[in-house]
Symmetry: C2
Subunit: 259 residues, 2 copies
């Protein structure tokens, strides 16, 4: 009875670097099936050798599984921690934008630091003040307090067939100047965008957004996620958007811990 009931209390609080590593691994694992050392390194702007060192520590504490030379994957415990930080990040971005008038190209850096300092209470107060939003200002889904997230994979604007109209859903929050440009042409989450024309050989893409017809490059279009408006998302059967080790070979095949 005197033994402090440790239950499944998440042990000592995670440090800022640890939380950032777990977030990065989560994202890379989603994209490639497993996170490569060098990808983590460049995501966090540290040397690859530093990543190896941190991975050893994370593995020893049960946050990741590591197969040397083959990458890391989060354990359930690691995924829980990553989603917690991601929730905080996205609630913070939402709050800063909606309540304090931050422009959407400047919230990311702020949230990147605050996510480690804010208490659960603060995050939940902000979420409540906002009416429990489900997406951040860039359209990224906000995990619930108990670790659920919508992981649907959407199409990019670059893939939208000519003549079709879609709803803009999401864009990466990491590139401020891209975000400013998107705001300029009103290509923001919720906006309706029509594919007017696409020049061949990765040429310029003409869109219609409201009354304007901006012309953008294929790089930009490839970074914007959209959802078809003209037809419902998937008329096909129920494709369960294969989650874990099933690496979707998307231009870059990765190694999903084949023992």
């Amino acid at each position: 009875m005197t033994t402090p009931a440790r239950d499944h209390a998440s042990s000592p609080p995670l440090t800022e670097p640890v939380e950032d590593y777990l977030k990065a691994i989560y994202t890379l694992e989603r994209r490639f099936g497993a996170a490569a050392t060098s990808d983590v390194a460049s995501a966090l702007a540290v040397a690859p050798a530093s990543v190896t060192g941190m991975i050893r520590r994370l593995a020893s504490q049960g946050y990741v599984d590591h197969v040397p030379y083959r990458g890391v994957q989060l354990t359930a415990r690691g995924r829980r921690a990553a989603l917690r930080t991601i929730r905080r990040h996205r609630i913070l971005e939402s709050y800063l934008t909606a309540v304090l008038g931050y422009p959407w190209d400047r919230v990311h850096d702020e949230a990147e630091r605050l996510e480690h300092a804010a208490s659960d209470e603060l995050i939940e107060r902000m979420a409540t003040a906002l009416g429990h939003p489900t997406a951040d200002p860039h359209g990224a889904p906000i995990p619930t307090a108990d670790g659920e997230v919508d992981e649907t994979a959407y199409r990019t604007l670059a893939e939208l067939p000519v003549g079709e109209t879609a709803r803009m859903l999401r864009v990466s929050d990491k590139n401020p100047s891209l975000l400013r440009y998107l705001a300029d042409i009103a290509l923001q989450p919720g906006a309706e965008v029509t594919m007017v024309a696409r020049a061949p050989f990765d040429g310029p893409i003409t869109l219609r957004i409201g009354d304007a017809e901006p012309v953008v490059g294929p790089n930009l279009a490839a970074q914007v996620l959209v959802e078809s408006i003209t037809s419902s998302p998937l008329p096909v059967a129920d494709a369960p958007s294969a989650t874990f080790p099933v690496s979707t070979p998307r231009s870059r095949a990765r190694k999903p811990t084949s023992r």
Copy 2:
């Protein structure tokens, strides 16, 4: 021209421990004329030897002057850094209380962490949203963005003569249960409080606040700062509230760097 204009940019950003040390030193220096190693240690809950180590580093970077065995004092540079952190802390406490509904006994811990993570932009947005408050929820004065702060020394409630009425101004933010109790008896900044009776030999003190007549101990009363309402603060000449090395010997004489 290619040399980055360093101006008086505050060098590399300060770490969280450094900011907390500077704040603690600022407060102790205000009270005793200089900060003693052991006082800093207990304020920050670290070992005295750790403080000596940090002080060496702070001195080498020009944030403090250290006379071995005699304590530290902030340099102008150190004072500026300390007041910046204090401003952030107090703006944060004000915002959390006023906008997010935090109870005043729980804002301190939150601000203690956020103060190191929030950008200047965030702090100024919060300050603007609040209409640039001059005191935090506990009545502590908020330094301006350029480092000005009201350092007036007020009387404690314990010193209020029987029969006099005063305005409650301030109380330490460090003791949550004290704060909860004060809220219970409505003894909060701005409240009018009358000294009804004081039993001899540090006995219980009877107050009147509104219609209630709470009886409190002398310890509590000594922690509450008040300002006379019946007469103006200081009918005497202009006592410039002696600032720097003039240690006000208040029950504990300290050593103000006598070389």
